[in-house]
Symmetry: C2
Amino acid sequence: MNKLGIVFGKLLEQLIHRMPKFRMPKSLSRSDMMLQLDSQPLQQRMPQPTKTAVLVIGGAEDKLHGRQILHTFFQRSGGTDARIAIIPSASREPAVIGSRYHDIFEEMGAKAIEVIDIRDREHGSDGDWQAFIEDCTGVFMTGGDQLRLCDLLSDTPIMNCVRQRARSGEVTLAGTSAGAAVMGHHMIAGGGSGESPNQSLVDMTIGLGIIPEVIVDQHFHNRNRMARLLSAVAAYPDKLGIGIDEDTCAMFEGNLFESYGRFSSLQVIGKGTVTIVDPVEMTHTNYAQVSNADPIGIHNLHLHILSQGDRYDLEKRQVIPADRC
Amino acid sequence: MNKLGIVFGKLLEQLIHRMPKFRMPKSLSRSDMMLQLDSQPLQQRMPQPTKTAVLVIGGAEDKLHGRQILHTFFQRSGGTDARIAIIPSASREPAVIGSRYHDIFEEMGAKAIEVIDIRDREHGSDGDWQAFIEDCTGVFMTGGDQLRLCDLLSDTPIMNCVRQRARSGEVTLAGTSAGAAVMGHHMIAGGGSGESPNQSLVDMTIGLGIIPEVIVDQHFHNRNRMARLLSAVAAYPDKLGIGIDEDTCAMFEGNLFESYGRFSSLQVIGKGTVTIVDPVEMTHTNYAQVSNADPIGIHNLHLHILSQGDRYDLEKRQVIPADRC
Protein backbone atom coordinates (compact mmCIF):
# COMPACT_ATOMS: atom_id res chain seq x y z
CA MET A 1 0.00 0.00 0.00
CA ASN A 2 1.39 3.42 -0.85
CA LYS A 3 1.95 6.24 1.72
CA LEU A 4 -1.32 7.95 0.94
CA GLY A 5 -3.11 4.66 1.36
CA ILE A 6 -1.55 4.11 4.82
CA VAL A 7 -2.56 7.59 6.01
CA PHE A 8 -6.05 7.17 4.63
CA GLY A 9 -6.34 3.75 6.25
CA LYS A 10 -5.36 5.22 9.64
CA LEU A 11 -7.92 7.96 9.35
CA LEU A 12 -10.55 5.45 8.43
CA GLU A 13 -9.65 3.29 11.42
CA GLN A 14 -10.05 6.27 13.73
CA LEU A 15 -13.35 7.23 12.14
CA ILE A 16 -14.67 3.76 12.72
CA HIS A 17 -13.48 3.81 16.36
CA ARG A 18 -15.79 6.75 16.84
CA MET A 19 -18.79 4.77 15.62
CA PRO A 20 -19.49 2.16 18.33
CA LYS A 21 -22.15 0.50 16.21
CA PHE A 22 -19.83 0.04 13.23
CA ARG A 23 -16.78 -1.67 14.73
CA MET A 24 -14.12 -2.67 12.19
CA PRO A 25 -14.42 -6.43 11.68
CA LYS A 26 -11.09 -8.06 12.55
CA SER A 27 -11.16 -10.20 9.42
CA LEU A 28 -11.39 -7.16 7.16
CA SER A 29 -8.07 -5.76 5.94
CA ARG A 30 -7.38 -2.04 5.34
CA SER A 31 -7.26 -2.65 1.57
CA ASP A 32 -10.69 -4.28 1.72
CA MET A 33 -11.97 -1.27 3.64
CA MET A 34 -10.56 1.12 1.07
CA LEU A 35 -12.18 -0.78 -1.76
CA GLN A 36 -15.52 -0.62 0.02
CA LEU A 37 -14.99 3.04 0.83
CA ASP A 38 -14.27 3.92 -2.79
CA SER A 39 -17.79 2.96 -3.71
CA GLN A 40 -19.30 5.34 -1.09
CA PRO A 41 -20.28 8.90 -2.00
CA LEU A 42 -17.79 11.58 -0.90
CA GLN A 43 -20.09 13.10 1.72
CA GLN A 44 -20.27 9.89 3.72
CA ARG A 45 -16.48 9.66 3.75
CA MET A 46 -16.01 13.15 5.22
CA PRO A 47 -14.92 13.04 8.87
CA GLN A 48 -17.37 14.37 11.44
CA PRO A 49 -15.85 16.30 14.38
CA THR A 50 -15.69 14.08 17.41
CA LYS A 51 -17.81 15.01 20.39
CA THR A 52 -15.59 13.27 22.92
CA ALA A 53 -13.41 15.35 25.21
CA VAL A 54 -11.21 15.25 28.28
CA LEU A 55 -12.62 17.44 31.05
CA VAL A 56 -10.00 18.55 33.55
CA ILE A 57 -11.93 19.97 36.50
CA GLY A 58 -10.40 22.14 39.24
CA GLY A 59 -12.38 20.46 42.03
CA ALA A 60 -15.52 21.44 43.93
CA GLU A 61 -17.66 21.40 40.79
CA ASP A 62 -21.31 22.24 41.27
CA LYS A 63 -23.12 18.98 42.09
CA LEU A 64 -26.46 20.45 43.12
CA HIS A 65 -27.86 23.25 41.01
CA GLY A 66 -26.82 24.08 37.44
CA ARG A 67 -24.29 21.22 37.36
CA GLN A 68 -22.89 22.84 34.22
CA ILE A 69 -19.64 20.88 34.16
CA LEU A 70 -21.12 17.52 35.14
CA HIS A 71 -23.88 18.00 32.63
CA THR A 72 -21.34 18.75 29.89
CA PHE A 73 -19.50 15.54 30.78
CA PHE A 74 -22.80 13.64 30.66
CA GLN A 75 -23.67 15.07 27.24
CA ARG A 76 -20.19 14.46 25.85
CA SER A 77 -20.51 10.86 27.05
CA GLY A 78 -23.60 10.37 24.96
CA GLY A 79 -26.41 11.81 27.10
CA THR A 80 -29.15 9.27 27.72
CA ASP A 81 -27.12 6.75 25.68
CA ALA A 82 -24.13 7.20 28.00
CA ARG A 83 -22.45 4.23 29.62
CA ILE A 84 -20.46 5.80 32.43
CA ALA A 85 -17.64 4.34 34.52
CA ILE A 86 -16.89 6.10 37.82
CA ILE A 87 -13.40 5.58 39.25
CA PRO A 88 -13.45 6.70 42.91
CA SER A 89 -10.03 5.26 43.76
CA ALA A 90 -8.40 8.59 44.71
CA SER A 91 -10.72 8.76 47.69
CA ARG A 92 -10.39 6.98 51.00
CA GLU A 93 -14.16 6.74 50.99
CA PRO A 94 -14.65 5.36 47.49
CA ALA A 95 -18.07 3.83 48.20
CA VAL A 96 -19.50 7.13 49.43
CA ILE A 97 -18.08 9.28 46.66
CA GLY A 98 -18.74 6.66 44.00
CA SER A 99 -22.37 6.43 45.01
CA ARG A 100 -22.72 10.23 45.00
CA TYR A 101 -21.65 10.54 41.35
CA HIS A 102 -23.64 7.39 40.50
CA ASP A 103 -26.80 9.10 41.75
CA ILE A 104 -26.05 12.30 39.83
CA PHE A 105 -25.53 10.55 36.49
CA GLU A 106 -28.50 8.28 37.13
CA GLU A 107 -30.66 11.34 37.76
CA MET A 108 -29.43 12.80 34.49
CA GLY A 109 -30.59 9.62 32.75
CA ALA A 110 -27.44 7.71 31.79
CA LYS A 111 -28.14 4.32 30.23
CA ALA A 112 -25.59 2.42 32.32
CA ILE A 113 -23.37 3.38 35.26
CA GLU A 114 -20.69 1.30 36.93
CA VAL A 115 -18.55 2.27 39.90
CA ILE A 116 -15.12 0.82 39.15
CA ASP A 117 -14.14 0.63 42.80
CA ILE A 118 -10.48 -0.31 42.50
CA ARG A 119 -9.00 -0.57 46.00
CA ASP A 120 -6.12 -2.85 45.15
CA ARG A 121 -3.77 -3.00 42.17
CA GLU A 122 -5.11 -6.49 41.35
CA HIS A 123 -8.51 -4.96 40.71
CA GLY A 124 -6.89 -3.04 37.89
CA SER A 125 -7.18 -6.13 35.70
CA ASP A 126 -10.62 -7.27 36.84
CA GLY A 127 -12.32 -8.84 33.82
CA ASP A 128 -15.83 -7.47 34.30
CA TRP A 129 -14.65 -3.95 35.00
CA GLN A 130 -12.25 -4.12 32.07
CA ALA A 131 -15.08 -5.19 29.79
CA PHE A 132 -17.16 -2.22 30.96
CA ILE A 133 -14.24 0.18 30.44
CA GLU A 134 -13.65 -1.17 26.94
CA ASP A 135 -17.20 -0.47 25.97
CA CYS A 136 -18.20 2.59 28.00
CA THR A 137 -18.67 6.07 26.56
CA GLY A 138 -17.59 8.13 29.60
CA VAL A 139 -15.12 7.73 32.49
CA PHE A 140 -15.22 9.95 35.58
CA MET A 141 -12.30 10.04 38.06
CA THR A 142 -13.23 11.57 41.43
CA GLY A 143 -11.21 13.67 43.85
CA GLY A 144 -9.14 12.45 46.79
CA ASP A 145 -5.40 11.94 46.78
CA GLN A 146 -3.64 11.92 43.42
CA LEU A 147 -0.78 9.79 44.75
CA ARG A 148 -3.26 7.13 45.88
CA LEU A 149 -4.95 7.23 42.47
CA CYS A 150 -1.66 6.73 40.65
CA ASP A 151 -0.42 4.06 43.05
CA LEU A 152 -3.58 2.02 42.51
CA LEU A 153 -4.06 2.55 38.79
CA SER A 154 -0.95 3.43 36.84
CA ASP A 155 0.08 0.76 34.34
CA THR A 156 -2.92 -1.46 35.10
CA PRO A 157 -4.80 -2.87 32.10
CA ILE A 158 -7.86 -0.83 33.06
CA MET A 159 -5.97 2.49 33.19
CA ASN A 160 -4.06 1.68 30.01
CA CYS A 161 -7.40 1.14 28.31
CA VAL A 162 -8.82 4.39 29.69
CA ARG A 163 -5.78 6.33 28.48
CA GLN A 164 -5.72 4.75 25.04
CA ARG A 165 -9.44 5.27 24.49
CA ALA A 166 -9.35 8.87 25.81
CA ARG A 167 -6.33 9.78 23.69
CA SER A 168 -7.80 8.31 20.57
CA GLY A 169 -11.11 10.06 21.12
CA GLU A 170 -13.19 6.93 21.73
CA VAL A 171 -14.37 7.92 25.18
CA THR A 172 -15.02 11.12 27.13
CA LEU A 173 -12.88 11.31 30.27
CA ALA A 174 -13.31 13.65 33.22
CA GLY A 175 -11.17 14.06 36.32
CA THR A 176 -11.84 16.44 39.19
CA SER A 177 -9.34 17.65 41.80
CA ALA A 178 -6.99 14.65 42.30
CA GLY A 179 -8.58 13.19 39.18
CA ALA A 180 -7.43 16.33 37.33
CA ALA A 181 -3.94 16.41 38.84
CA VAL A 182 -3.06 13.03 37.31
CA MET A 183 -3.69 14.12 33.70
CA GLY A 184 -0.12 15.10 32.79
CA HIS A 185 2.98 12.97 32.48
CA HIS A 186 4.54 15.08 35.23
CA MET A 187 2.22 15.53 38.19
CA ILE A 188 2.12 17.89 41.15
CA ALA A 189 1.81 15.54 44.13
CA GLY A 190 1.67 18.30 46.72
CA GLY A 191 3.21 21.57 47.75
CA GLY A 192 2.81 24.81 49.61
CA SER A 193 1.99 28.47 49.16
CA GLY A 194 2.96 31.78 50.70
CA GLU A 195 6.55 31.69 49.45
CA SER A 196 8.57 32.91 46.50
CA PRO A 197 8.67 30.20 43.83
CA ASN A 198 11.28 27.63 44.88
CA GLN A 199 12.03 23.96 44.36
CA SER A 200 10.83 22.85 47.79
CA LEU A 201 7.44 24.51 47.21
CA VAL A 202 6.28 21.68 44.94
CA ASP A 203 6.56 17.89 45.00
CA MET A 204 6.63 16.40 41.53
CA THR A 205 6.07 12.82 40.48
CA ILE A 206 4.73 10.89 37.50
CA GLY A 207 1.04 11.10 36.59
CA LEU A 208 -1.19 8.99 34.35
CA GLY A 209 -0.11 10.71 31.12
CA ILE A 210 -3.53 11.26 29.56
CA ILE A 211 -2.36 14.69 28.31
CA PRO A 212 1.40 14.31 28.69
CA GLU A 213 2.28 17.82 27.51
CA VAL A 214 0.68 19.64 30.46
CA ILE A 215 1.26 20.05 34.17
CA VAL A 216 -2.09 20.51 35.89
CA ASP A 217 -2.73 22.28 39.17
CA GLN A 218 -6.25 22.43 40.61
CA HIS A 219 -8.14 24.46 43.26
CA PHE A 220 -5.81 26.97 41.68
CA HIS A 221 -6.50 30.56 42.68
CA ASN A 222 -8.71 29.27 45.51
CA ARG A 223 -5.67 27.78 47.23
CA ASN A 224 -3.16 30.34 45.92
CA ARG A 225 -1.13 27.90 43.90
CA MET A 226 0.51 30.20 41.36
CA ALA A 227 3.95 30.03 43.01
CA ARG A 228 3.91 26.23 43.09
CA LEU A 229 2.82 25.95 39.45
CA LEU A 230 5.58 28.39 38.47
CA SER A 231 8.06 26.24 40.40
CA ALA A 232 6.82 23.16 38.53
CA VAL A 233 7.07 24.87 35.14
CA ALA A 234 10.62 26.02 35.91
CA ALA A 235 11.47 22.35 36.53
CA TYR A 236 9.86 21.17 33.26
CA PRO A 237 9.85 24.09 30.84
CA ASP A 238 8.92 21.82 27.94
CA LYS A 239 5.46 21.46 29.50
CA LEU A 240 2.51 23.83 29.62
CA GLY A 241 1.39 24.81 33.12
CA ILE A 242 -2.38 24.79 33.57
CA GLY A 243 -4.01 26.01 36.79
CA ILE A 244 -7.73 25.34 37.10
CA ASP A 245 -9.97 27.05 39.64
CA GLU A 246 -12.74 25.34 41.55
CA ASP A 247 -16.03 24.72 39.74
CA THR A 248 -14.12 25.33 36.51
CA CYS A 249 -13.09 22.98 33.77
CA ALA A 250 -10.52 22.98 31.00
CA MET A 251 -12.19 20.86 28.36
CA PHE A 252 -9.58 19.39 25.99
CA GLU A 253 -10.64 18.39 22.53
CA GLY A 254 -8.74 16.85 19.68
CA ASN A 255 -9.21 17.41 16.02
CA LEU A 256 -8.73 13.79 15.08
CA PHE A 257 -7.82 14.47 11.48
CA GLU A 258 -5.31 17.21 12.17
CA SER A 259 -3.58 16.18 15.39
CA TYR A 260 -3.35 12.46 15.61
CA GLY A 261 -3.35 11.54 19.31
CA ARG A 262 -2.89 15.13 20.49
CA PHE A 263 -5.49 17.49 21.85
CA SER A 264 -5.67 20.57 19.71
CA SER A 265 -7.52 22.96 22.01
CA LEU A 266 -9.07 23.51 25.39
CA GLN A 267 -12.13 25.51 26.29
CA VAL A 268 -13.13 26.95 29.65
CA ILE A 269 -16.41 25.99 31.29
CA GLY A 270 -17.46 27.17 34.72
CA LYS A 271 -17.36 29.86 37.35
CA GLY A 272 -13.64 30.52 37.74
CA THR A 273 -10.59 30.86 35.53
CA VAL A 274 -8.08 28.63 33.83
CA THR A 275 -4.54 29.99 34.08
CA ILE A 276 -2.04 29.07 31.39
CA VAL A 277 1.66 29.45 32.10
CA ASP A 278 3.44 28.98 28.80
CA PRO A 279 7.24 28.74 28.85
CA VAL A 280 7.58 28.33 25.08
CA GLU A 281 9.64 31.53 24.81
CA MET A 282 11.30 31.27 28.21
CA THR A 283 14.73 32.83 27.93
CA HIS A 284 16.26 31.91 31.27
CA THR A 285 15.77 30.11 34.54
CA ASN A 286 18.25 29.64 37.35
CA TYR A 287 16.40 26.45 38.40
CA ALA A 288 19.38 24.17 37.88
CA GLN A 289 21.81 26.48 39.64
CA VAL A 290 20.00 27.24 42.89
CA SER A 291 19.45 25.13 45.96
CA ASN A 292 16.10 23.82 47.21
CA ALA A 293 14.81 26.82 49.13
CA ASP A 294 16.35 29.57 47.00
CA PRO A 295 13.99 31.71 44.94
CA ILE A 296 13.67 30.65 41.31
CA GLY A 297 14.03 33.21 38.53
CA ILE A 298 12.04 32.48 35.34
CA HIS A 299 12.16 34.98 32.50
CA ASN A 300 9.76 35.55 29.65
CA LEU A 301 6.76 33.39 30.33
CA HIS A 302 3.45 33.93 28.60
CA LEU A 303 0.50 34.08 30.94
CA HIS A 304 -3.17 33.82 30.05
CA ILE A 305 -6.11 34.01 32.41
CA LEU A 306 -9.07 32.45 30.63
CA SER A 307 -12.69 32.65 31.69
CA GLN A 308 -15.95 31.00 30.62
CA GLY A 309 -16.04 30.29 26.90
CA ASP A 310 -12.46 31.28 26.15
CA ARG A 311 -10.60 28.76 24.04
CA TYR A 312 -6.87 28.07 23.84
CA ASP A 313 -5.28 26.64 20.71
CA LEU A 314 -2.68 24.18 22.00
CA GLU A 315 -0.86 24.02 18.67
CA LYS A 316 -0.60 27.73 17.94
CA ARG A 317 -0.42 28.54 21.68
CA GLN A 318 -2.93 31.31 21.19
CA VAL A 319 -6.09 32.31 22.99
CA ILE A 320 -9.38 32.70 21.14
CA PRO A 321 -11.64 34.90 23.25
CA ALA A 322 -15.14 33.59 24.04
CA ASP A 323 -16.84 36.06 21.72
CA ARG A 324 -14.77 34.84 18.77
CA CYS A 325 -15.13 31.10 19.44
CA MET B 1 19.24 79.90 21.84
CA ASN B 2 18.82 77.19 19.19
CA LYS B 3 17.16 73.76 19.79
CA LEU B 4 20.45 71.98 20.41
CA GLY B 5 21.41 74.65 22.89
CA ILE B 6 18.16 74.21 24.83
CA VAL B 7 18.62 70.43 25.04
CA PHE B 8 22.24 70.83 26.10
CA GLY B 9 21.28 73.41 28.70
CA LYS B 10 18.69 71.02 30.17
CA LEU B 11 21.22 68.23 30.40
CA LEU B 12 23.68 70.54 32.05
CA GLU B 13 21.09 71.65 34.56
CA GLN B 14 20.39 68.04 35.46
CA LEU B 15 24.07 67.27 35.77
CA ILE B 16 24.50 70.12 38.17
CA HIS B 17 21.53 68.98 40.25
CA ARG B 18 23.41 65.78 40.85
CA MET B 19 26.40 67.65 42.29
CA PRO B 20 25.25 68.99 45.67
CA LYS B 21 28.48 70.91 46.17
CA PHE B 22 28.14 72.70 42.83
CA ARG B 23 24.64 74.17 42.86
CA MET B 24 23.76 76.33 39.86
CA PRO B 25 24.00 79.99 40.96
CA LYS B 26 20.62 81.60 40.33
CA SER B 27 22.25 84.66 38.73
CA LEU B 28 24.00 82.55 36.09
CA SER B 29 22.11 82.11 32.83
CA ARG B 30 22.18 78.94 30.68
CA SER B 31 24.17 80.75 28.01
CA ASP B 32 26.78 81.78 30.56
CA MET B 33 26.98 78.16 31.67
CA MET B 34 27.48 76.98 28.11
CA LEU B 35 30.27 79.45 27.58
CA GLN B 36 32.01 78.26 30.75
CA LEU B 37 31.41 74.65 29.75
CA ASP B 38 32.96 75.15 26.32
CA SER B 39 36.28 75.89 27.93
CA GLN B 40 36.27 72.63 29.93
CA PRO B 41 37.94 69.49 28.58
CA LEU B 42 35.51 66.90 27.14
CA GLN B 43 36.14 64.32 29.89
CA GLN B 44 34.88 66.68 32.60
CA ARG B 45 31.70 67.38 30.63
CA MET B 46 30.82 63.69 30.23
CA PRO B 47 27.90 62.72 32.46
CA GLN B 48 28.64 60.33 35.30
CA PRO B 49 25.99 57.69 36.04
CA THR B 50 23.92 58.78 39.00
CA LYS B 51 24.14 56.71 42.11
CA THR B 52 20.74 57.68 43.38
CA ALA B 53 17.89 55.18 43.16
CA VAL B 54 14.37 54.44 44.28
CA LEU B 55 14.23 51.28 46.38
CA VAL B 56 10.80 49.67 46.41
CA ILE B 57 10.89 47.11 49.20
CA GLY B 58 8.36 44.30 49.65
CA GLY B 59 8.23 44.66 53.44
CA ALA B 60 9.84 42.74 56.30
CA GLU B 61 13.35 43.63 55.14
CA ASP B 62 16.17 42.29 57.25
CA LYS B 63 16.85 44.84 60.02
CA LEU B 64 19.17 42.76 62.15
CA HIS B 65 21.82 40.73 60.36
CA GLY B 66 23.05 41.31 56.83
CA ARG B 67 20.69 44.27 56.33
CA GLN B 68 21.49 44.01 52.62
CA ILE B 69 18.63 46.22 51.45
CA LEU B 70 18.91 48.85 54.18
CA HIS B 71 22.66 48.98 53.67
CA THR B 72 22.17 49.51 49.94
CA PHE B 73 19.80 52.38 50.70
CA PHE B 74 22.36 53.84 53.11
CA GLN B 75 25.16 53.60 50.53
CA ARG B 76 23.01 55.04 47.73
CA SER B 77 22.19 57.93 50.09
CA GLY B 78 25.85 58.79 50.41
CA GLY B 79 27.12 56.39 53.10
CA THR B 80 28.72 58.23 55.97
CA ASP B 81 27.93 61.52 54.19
CA ALA B 82 24.23 60.62 54.10
CA ARG B 83 21.60 63.00 55.42
CA ILE B 84 18.57 60.76 55.87
CA ALA B 85 14.93 61.72 56.35
CA ILE B 86 12.66 59.02 57.81
CA ILE B 87 8.93 59.37 57.10
CA PRO B 88 7.04 57.05 59.49
CA SER B 89 3.60 58.47 58.71
CA ALA B 90 2.11 55.23 57.36
CA SER B 91 2.39 53.78 60.84
CA ARG B 92 0.05 54.32 63.76
CA GLU B 93 3.12 54.12 65.96
CA PRO B 94 5.32 56.57 64.08
CA ALA B 95 7.55 57.36 67.05
CA VAL B 96 8.41 53.71 67.64
CA ILE B 97 9.05 52.82 64.00
CA GLY B 98 10.79 56.14 63.28
CA SER B 99 13.16 55.59 66.16
CA ARG B 100 13.88 52.02 65.03
CA TYR B 101 15.08 53.11 61.59
CA HIS B 102 16.85 56.12 63.15
CA ASP B 103 18.93 53.75 65.26
CA ILE B 104 19.75 51.52 62.29
CA PHE B 105 21.01 54.37 60.09
CA GLU B 106 22.83 55.95 63.04
CA GLU B 107 24.59 52.64 63.67
CA MET B 108 25.58 52.56 59.99
CA GLY B 109 27.14 55.99 60.43
CA ALA B 110 24.85 58.45 58.62
CA LYS B 111 25.94 62.07 59.02
CA ALA B 112 22.45 63.40 59.83
CA ILE B 113 19.10 61.71 60.47
CA GLU B 114 15.74 63.38 60.94
CA VAL B 115 12.42 61.68 61.64
CA ILE B 116 9.86 63.67 59.65
CA ASP B 117 6.99 62.68 61.93
CA ILE B 118 4.06 64.07 59.97
CA ARG B 119 0.85 63.25 61.87
CA ASP B 120 -1.31 65.97 60.39
CA ARG B 121 -1.56 67.42 56.90
CA GLU B 122 -0.43 70.81 58.24
CA HIS B 123 2.90 69.22 59.14
CA GLY B 124 3.38 68.60 55.44
CA SER B 125 4.50 72.22 55.03
CA ASP B 126 6.56 72.49 58.21
CA GLY B 127 9.45 74.82 57.43
CA ASP B 128 12.23 73.00 59.30
CA TRP B 129 11.25 69.60 57.94
CA GLN B 130 10.90 71.03 54.45
CA ALA B 131 14.38 72.52 54.69
CA PHE B 132 15.78 69.12 55.71
CA ILE B 133 13.93 67.39 52.84
CA GLU B 134 15.28 69.93 50.33
CA ASP B 135 18.82 69.23 51.37
CA CYS B 136 18.83 65.56 52.39
CA THR B 137 20.42 62.75 50.36
CA GLY B 138 18.06 59.92 51.32
CA VAL B 139 14.38 59.55 52.25
CA PHE B 140 12.98 56.39 53.85
CA MET B 141 9.21 55.76 54.04
CA THR B 142 8.26 53.05 56.55
CA GLY B 143 5.48 50.49 56.52
CA GLY B 144 2.01 50.83 57.99
CA ASP B 145 -1.12 51.71 56.06
CA GLN B 146 -0.70 53.11 52.55
CA LEU B 147 -4.03 54.94 52.70
CA ARG B 148 -2.92 56.74 55.87
CA LEU B 149 0.38 57.66 54.23
CA CYS B 150 -1.37 59.11 51.18
CA ASP B 151 -4.02 60.90 53.21
CA LEU B 152 -1.36 62.65 55.28
CA LEU B 153 1.17 63.38 52.58
CA SER B 154 -0.19 63.61 49.07
CA ASP B 155 0.08 67.07 47.53
CA THR B 156 1.86 68.53 50.56
CA PRO B 157 4.93 70.69 49.85
CA ILE B 158 7.13 68.12 51.59
CA MET B 159 5.87 65.19 49.46
CA ASN B 160 6.00 67.27 46.28
CA CYS B 161 9.63 67.99 47.08
CA VAL B 162 10.39 64.31 47.78
CA ARG B 163 8.79 63.27 44.49
CA GLN B 164 10.47 65.94 42.42
CA ARG B 165 13.90 65.25 43.90
CA ALA B 166 13.49 61.45 43.60
CA ARG B 167 12.30 61.67 40.01
CA SER B 168 15.09 63.97 38.98
CA GLY B 169 17.69 61.78 40.65
CA GLU B 170 18.71 64.25 43.35
CA VAL B 171 17.86 61.99 46.27
CA THR B 172 17.66 58.28 46.98
CA LEU B 173 14.20 57.24 48.09
CA ALA B 174 13.14 53.98 49.73
CA GLY B 175 9.72 52.75 50.71
CA THR B 176 8.91 49.47 52.41
CA SER B 177 5.54 47.71 52.55
CA ALA B 178 2.98 50.58 52.65
CA GLY B 179 5.88 52.85 51.70
CA ALA B 180 6.32 50.69 48.58
CA ALA B 181 2.62 50.48 47.73
CA VAL B 182 2.38 54.26 47.25
CA MET B 183 5.04 54.43 44.53
CA GLY B 184 2.73 54.26 41.51
CA HIS B 185 0.12 56.67 40.26
CA HIS B 186 -2.46 53.93 40.74
CA MET B 187 -2.16 52.22 44.11
CA ILE B 188 -3.47 48.99 45.55
CA ALA B 189 -5.14 50.09 48.79
CA GLY B 190 -6.16 46.60 49.85
CA GLY B 191 -7.65 43.39 48.64
CA GLY B 192 -8.00 39.68 49.11
CA SER B 193 -6.66 36.34 47.95
CA GLY B 194 -7.96 32.82 47.42
CA GLU B 195 -10.21 33.73 44.50
CA SER B 196 -10.07 33.86 40.72
CA PRO B 197 -8.96 37.33 39.59
CA ASN B 198 -11.99 39.63 39.81
CA GLN B 199 -12.72 43.30 40.29
CA SER B 200 -13.78 43.02 43.93
CA LEU B 201 -10.49 41.30 44.81
CA VAL B 202 -8.57 44.58 44.75
CA ASP B 203 -9.26 48.12 45.97
CA MET B 204 -7.56 50.73 43.83
CA THR B 205 -6.91 54.36 44.60
CA ILE B 206 -4.36 57.06 43.78
CA GLY B 207 -0.80 56.77 45.11
CA LEU B 208 2.04 59.26 45.39
CA GLY B 209 3.16 58.90 41.77
CA ILE B 210 6.89 58.55 42.31
CA ILE B 211 7.03 55.93 39.53
CA PRO B 212 3.67 56.57 37.84
CA GLU B 213 4.01 53.84 35.25
CA VAL B 214 3.90 50.92 37.73
CA ILE B 215 1.38 49.31 40.04
CA VAL B 216 3.22 47.90 43.05
CA ASP B 217 2.12 45.04 45.26
CA GLN B 218 4.20 44.00 48.26
CA HIS B 219 4.51 40.98 50.61
CA PHE B 220 3.78 39.46 47.23
CA HIS B 221 4.17 35.69 47.12
CA ASN B 222 4.25 35.66 50.93
CA ARG B 223 0.64 36.78 51.05
CA ASN B 224 -0.42 35.13 47.75
CA ARG B 225 -1.22 38.34 45.95
CA MET B 226 -0.90 37.27 42.33
CA ALA B 227 -4.65 37.23 41.70
CA ARG B 228 -5.09 40.74 43.10
CA LEU B 229 -2.19 42.13 41.08
CA LEU B 230 -3.63 40.52 37.94
CA SER B 231 -6.99 42.12 38.75
CA ALA B 232 -5.27 45.50 39.12
CA VAL B 233 -3.38 45.13 35.83
CA ALA B 234 -6.61 44.19 34.03
CA ALA B 235 -8.05 47.48 35.30
CA TYR B 236 -5.04 49.53 34.15
CA PRO B 237 -3.37 47.66 31.31
CA ASP B 238 -1.23 50.69 30.46
CA LYS B 239 0.70 50.09 33.69
CA LEU B 240 3.33 47.53 34.60
CA GLY B 241 2.41 45.25 37.52
CA ILE B 242 5.25 44.69 39.97
CA GLY B 243 4.92 42.25 42.87
CA ILE B 244 7.71 42.35 45.43
CA ASP B 245 8.32 39.62 48.00
CA GLU B 246 9.33 40.25 51.58
CA ASP B 247 12.97 41.10 52.28
CA THR B 248 13.29 41.87 48.58
CA CYS B 249 13.72 45.13 46.76
CA ALA B 250 13.15 46.37 43.24
CA MET B 251 15.76 49.09 42.92
CA PHE B 252 14.78 51.57 40.19
CA GLU B 253 17.48 53.60 38.53
CA GLY B 254 17.32 56.23 35.88
CA ASN B 255 19.79 57.01 33.18
CA LEU B 256 19.46 60.78 33.39
CA PHE B 257 20.77 61.46 29.93
CA GLU B 258 18.65 58.90 28.13
CA SER B 259 15.34 58.92 29.96
CA TYR B 260 14.57 62.37 31.28
CA GLY B 261 12.45 61.91 34.42
CA ARG B 262 11.85 58.20 33.80
CA PHE B 263 13.51 55.26 35.45
CA SER B 264 15.21 53.10 32.88
CA SER B 265 15.70 49.86 34.80
CA LEU B 266 15.16 48.01 38.02
CA GLN B 267 17.40 45.50 39.72
CA VAL B 268 16.49 42.86 42.30
CA ILE B 269 18.16 42.81 45.69
CA GLY B 270 17.24 40.42 48.46
CA LYS B 271 16.00 36.99 49.43
CA GLY B 272 12.78 36.66 47.41
CA THR B 273 11.55 37.44 43.93
CA VAL B 274 10.21 40.40 42.02
CA THR B 275 7.32 39.44 39.75
CA ILE B 276 6.67 41.50 36.65
CA VAL B 277 3.28 41.31 34.97
CA ASP B 278 3.61 43.10 31.66
CA PRO B 279 0.43 43.74 29.66
CA VAL B 280 2.23 45.47 26.78
CA GLU B 281 1.03 42.82 24.31
CA MET B 282 -2.26 42.05 26.03
CA THR B 283 -4.75 41.09 23.35
CA HIS B 284 -7.97 40.96 25.32
CA THR B 285 -9.60 41.42 28.69
CA ASN B 286 -13.27 41.16 29.57
CA TYR B 287 -12.70 43.56 32.50
CA ALA B 288 -15.10 46.21 31.23
CA GLN B 289 -17.82 43.69 30.39
CA VAL B 290 -18.07 41.66 33.59
CA SER B 291 -19.57 42.51 36.93
CA ASN B 292 -17.68 42.91 40.21
CA ALA B 293 -17.35 39.30 41.32
CA ASP B 294 -17.11 37.66 37.90
CA PRO B 295 -13.79 36.12 36.93
CA ILE B 296 -11.61 38.32 34.75
CA GLY B 297 -10.05 36.96 31.58
CA ILE B 298 -6.73 38.51 30.53
CA HIS B 299 -4.96 37.20 27.47
CA ASN B 300 -1.33 37.41 26.47
CA LEU B 301 0.52 38.84 29.43
CA HIS B 302 4.26 38.57 29.77
CA LEU B 303 5.39 37.27 33.14
CA HIS B 304 8.87 37.42 34.62
CA ILE B 305 9.98 36.09 37.97
CA LEU B 306 13.25 37.84 38.84
CA SER B 307 15.63 36.88 41.58
CA GLN B 308 18.71 38.44 43.19
CA GLY B 309 20.80 40.39 40.70
CA ASP B 310 18.38 40.12 37.78
CA ARG B 311 17.76 43.42 36.04
CA TYR B 312 14.72 44.55 34.04
CA ASP B 313 15.02 47.15 31.30
CA LEU B 314 11.88 49.27 31.66
CA GLU B 315 12.23 50.79 28.20
CA LYS B 316 12.87 47.62 26.22
CA ARG B 317 10.71 45.59 28.64
CA GLN B 318 13.34 42.90 28.72
CA VAL B 319 15.05 40.98 31.48
CA ILE B 320 18.82 40.90 31.79
CA PRO B 321 19.74 37.85 33.88
CA ALA B 322 22.02 38.40 36.89
CA ASP B 323 25.01 36.74 35.25
CA ARG B 324 24.82 39.14 32.29
CA CYS B 325 24.32 42.36 34.30
